[in-house]
């Protein structure tokens, strides 16, 4: 077992453990920190895959932004510790396990016949970010999607503020 495998296993464990905390914990705040653990694990996996730009974006936007948003959402909403639907979890776990076994079986049958090279080939240091920047602002590639995404973000944030604002009773 070399360092890369070990790193993958640690990150995978963190990711799965975090998501299980989201699934099982009875306290909303614990669940949010479980989600944070899971998202950080995924960010680490992005680094392992060579996509460091996406990893930093994930940490800045998700862990820095979305989770704070969730925490505020929790503080503004009531505590709700109603129990989980355990029989539903059991039934769906069985179904999920069957689906996972089936998918793993077919994946093993495919092994060695992937249309993919067997290992990730990372771009040279810093090259990926430069290429991402060029691709985002290239008229022939992603410029339209980039601008649409920025307009979408603007609309979503203004809309969120508008929806969530405290209503002031209209006078007269």
């Amino acid at each position: 077992m070399n360092a890369m495998t070990l790193t993958f296993l640690v990150l995978a464990t963190a990711t799965i453990a975090g998501s299980l905390i989201v699934l099982w914990s009875g306290y909303v705040v614990y669940s949010i920190f479980g989600l944070m653990l899971s998202l950080l694990g995924v960010a680490g996996l992005y680094v392992l895959l060579g996509s460091d730009f996406l990893a930093v974006t994930q940490i800045v936007v998700y862990v820095g932004g979305v989770l704070v948003l969730y925490l505020f959402g929790i503080m503004l909403s009531p505590p709700d510790r109603r129990e989980r639907n355990v029989t539903l979890i059991g039934a769906c776990s069985v179904l999920g396990a069957v689906a996972a076994l089936y998918l793993l079986g077919s994946a093993r049958a495919m092994e060695g016949r992937w249309v993919l090279p067997a290992e990730p080939t990372a771009a040279p240091e810093g090259e990926l970010i430069r290429q991402v920047g060029r691709a985002f602002l290239d008229r022939e590639r992603y410029l339209l999607a980039f601008e649409l995404a920025s307009v979408l973000l603007l609309v979503a944030l203004i809309g969120a503020v508008y929806i969530a604002r405290r209503r002031v009773e209209a006078e007269e």
């Binding site: 989201v22 948003l69 969730y70 503004l76 989980r84």
Partner: protein
């Protein structure tokens, strides 16, 4: 045409001495996806449902980037860009959805998914 899309299979299997096969990433993202679905169907709180959606989005994005990374630098670029868009969409989704949850709580006094039922007869 097809043949040009396939890299040399013998070479691919010979190089599979790489410690982490792509199957591991797919398995991990499968588990993440299933936990997200379980969270959505089993929780009785809209905020947990939203967290389940985040888990599912992350699983899909991880799957996508894993395939892209094993495909080569050019594909990794595309994977990174699509992953960035997923992050942007998830951020705006979270902002809007949490605002809606706040309003649902204000209107119905509850954050259970089955309580908003004004349009039921």
């Amino acid at each position: 045409m097809i043949a040009s899309l396939l890299p040399d299979l013998a070479q691919a299997t010979a190089a599979s001495a790489h410690p982490i096969p792509v199957t591991w990433y797919l398995t991990l993202s499968l588990v993440l996806f299933l936990v997200g679905v379980l969270t959505i169907v089993s929780r009785r709180n809209l905020i947990y449902v939203l967290m389940g959606v985040e888990l599912i989005l992350n699983a899909a994005s991880l799957n996508f980037v894993a395939f892209a990374a094993y495909r080569g630098p050019q594909a990794l670029l595309e994977g990174t860009i699509v992953g960035t868009f997923v992050v942007v969409l998830a951020a705006s989704e979270a902002a809007i959805a949490l605002a809606i949850v706040l309003n649902v709580f204000g209107a119905f006094g509850s954050v259970r998914p089955e309580d908003p039922n004004l349009m039921r007869e």
